[in-house]
Amino acid sequence: MIEFRGVTKQFPDGTIAVHDVDIVIPPRKTTVLVGSSGSGKTTLLRMINRMVDPTGGQVLIDGTDVATVDPVKLRRGIGYVMQNSGLLPHRKVIDNVATVPLLRGESRRAAHAHALELLDTVGLDRSLADRYPAQLSGGQQQRVGVARGLAVDPNILLMDEPFGAVDPIVRAELQQELLRLQGELGKTVVFVTHDIDEAFLLGDQVVIMQQGGLISQAASPAEILAHPADSFVADFVGADRGKRALHVTEVDGRRVVVDADGRAAGVLAS
């Protein structure tokens, strides 16, 4: 369990990135932080592995204040996946995946064998192991990034807009892969995105943030749609318009669900 207690981050220039945030991130679930740029969602994420230190409040992992843990040790126990994969361009795929286990002192042979298994896990062909990152497609690079994040079998996986830079088709594919992986592995995933559809698809808990690092609402997608906390949330999730404002019409005795523009979205099963 990750817990934020009254966490504030003010940068030296006076900008407040995160303002007095309290959230509990439940274990073995996916929590998605969503908001537009400048809402402090990435700052919040990076406080978990101490890439950013808060100026006020505490971040706790399983009851331990991360400020008391050596940052290097902390980071080696937490998976981190970033946009543009962040792979080391001068190292082969397999060495990239094995980076953290090698840093932790595992033998090269064991780390490489495990890295090959991880390529299977994330759905990459083992023949790619000897390629360099630049020789892969964007989607493949992101998969390698996920494999690297999983390499030390961490309890926590931090994902900072991991699918932001790939095309929509590949993104949809990667999202499904992540759902499958999460179903198998059950990590505590903290996922940052600015795409509310992605947040609703992936998140067990969705945290909606607004400018100035304030949390508007933290709840399950269904709850947010049913009871948006305020007009900002309602507007942000688009609850009252487009493809979310669904209603039922009868067509030849069957109940068809259509959106605000009258486009058919599906058929009611019962």
């Binding site: 990076r46 592995n49 890439m51 290097v72 040790k73 902390l74 980071r75 080696r76 126990g77 981190y80 970033m82 543009n84 962040g86 792979l87 080391l88 361009p89 001068h90 190292r91 082969k92 980076t99 953290v100 840093l103 360099y132 990152p133 630049a134 020789q135 690297r148």
Partner: protein, 247 residues
Amino acid sequence: MNLFLDAFAWLADPANWTGPGSIPQRIAEHLWVSALVLVIASAIALPLGALVGHTGRGREPAVMVSGGLRALPTLGVLTLFGIWIGIGLAAPVIALVILAIPPLLAGAYAGFESVDRRTIDAARAMGMRELQVVGKVELPLGMPIVVGGIRSATLQIIATATLAAYIADEGLGRFIFAGLKTRDYGEMLGGSILVILLALVIDGCFALTQRVVVPAGVRATRTAELRSGPTRSRTIVGRPNTEGNQE
């Protein structure tokens, strides 16, 4: 044309290739002085440049210092230290170190700066210690530019190490100064040709090294970037190769 014939006659004279003060001995001295200067200057400038490039701090002073040092006339510095310290190798070594520091410093910080910040951020987020970020990420990726700085410095050192003979009994410069004094222009030109050849050979070696140190994955990146355009503008101020050798 006569002068060149004299020079080649001097170079071909077997008497000049054996005994004390022979061509091989002077070449060895020249290389030894150059290597000594390069090691001292590197020991000063490379860690400093790496620190500036790694932290992003102290860039302004580094640019100012290397700019200021570049402006110093080496012969003047040499004379000054010669009068101060006296005859011997110390004065020319100091003067040459001052000459070599700017390109080494610029190459080191430009090399470290050229590494994509996101790659460094990722390395840190994975749990690399600062020294590991330097050694495993910044150094290998910045190496081609760092070596470019070393190459540029070496070329200048070898060309200018002739001045060591002005104040010490060392190096290929002996032939130039001796030839000048005795009006033996064949010897003078022969000595000059040797310096030029030496500089070209060493520079060729560095050109090869510079190619070898580009990490294989980065070579792959470059072809990828040619297709898609650079992902990030690279700011390199004080290009290491602006003096001596233009690529």
